[in-house]
Symmetry: C2
Subunit: 164 residues, 2 copies
DNA sequence: TCAGTAGTGATATATTATAACGTACCTCGT
DNA sequence: ACGAGGTACGTTATAATATATCACTACTGA
């Protein structure tokens, strides 16, 4: 029985080991279901991304891998990140040129991101209505939407509190 | 009397010289009003962006400048682009790591972009409702939105037609 | 006239991302 | 067992995007 998902756990204090562990477990079963291979590098990259609710640059991840004995080879980390993104286990945050673990893999979603400019936390917000509004706007001019990037930069509740 | 703005001129056939000229004229008066300086490099960069409804990489713009006798200095083009973006005369398209002229400078708007993956055209769609939906979603979790990136990749009407 | 500010010129370098090619290993059909 | 085809990885090199820094110029306003 999977741990129930807290929406927006990122911005709430929570048992992060349990949070990350739950996501990892779900990632494992997804990969198994689909006949994909969560190889050591891929698994390790996902674990690294899951350590915090922050987006990491590819080279930040690479540095971590190097510290663990892997060779410093950008293609290795980019391939792992591409795999994770393509299979919905991680997201690319374009505004930051960075990557974040997906906190609810398996649920179909191209989320909207909330990026705190103060603490750098990244949360996935439910984007169904934003998507719908965007697609309506696009449809009005005959544009067919295939992929969306929806990213907001601002202040998370805690940092807004602190700033005020 | 300014040329009336066609929403989404990008995807319609139109008199582009008039379209670009009108935007340029509006840019000029905006800059004058605000006491900013549209220096030669800045003006030229804006003109280059206005030549098509496509986003250009900083180095694409730089290549154009070099062809016209400027030295190949990335900072020059980035400074010009930063100026244009900060003052609402151009937009940064994060998905493409590229820049596009703003087609209605002066009107307060952080637009939503429609990027055709086939012909590479970029249009600015009215984003008021998308913004509102996004901000509502953010507000629900206490997040304060400061800046939004709203970008869709897909097919413009003409390319969708061709593909079908 | 002189200090302050904004802009540019120039060199160097940082950061992010991919091309290209070879090797290892798995797996499936025979 | 064996080889064909596929997937992933190892490795080198390089492409593409972006910024730091410092010197110099030109305008701006007291």
């Amino acid at each position: 029985m999977p741990v129930p998902l807290q929406p927006l756990a990122a911005f709430d204090t929570h048992d992060h080991a349990q949070c990350a562990g739950g996501v990892m477990a779900r990632a494992e079963s997804l990969v198994a279901e689909r006949g994909l291979r969560l190889t050591p590098v891929r698994r390790r990259v996902l674990e690294i991304l899951l350590e915090s609710h922050r987006a990491l640059g590819a080279y930040d991840v690479l540095d971590r891998l190097v510290a663990e004995g892997f060779a410093r080879q950008p293609p290795v980390v980019y391939r792992a990140l591409d795999f994770l993104v393509e299979n919905g286990l991680a997201h690319r945050v374009r505004r930051l040129n960075a990557f974040a673990a997906c906190m609810h893999p398996g649920e179909a979603h191209q989320p909207a991101f909330l990026i705190c400019r103060s603490c750098n936390m990244v949360a996935e917000a439910p984007a169904a209505r934003v998507r719908a509004a965007f697609e309506a706007a696009a449809a009005e001019v005959g544009f067919t939407v295939e992929r969306l990037s929806l990213e907001a930069q601002g202040l998370c509740p805690a940092c807004a509190q602190g700033a005020a």
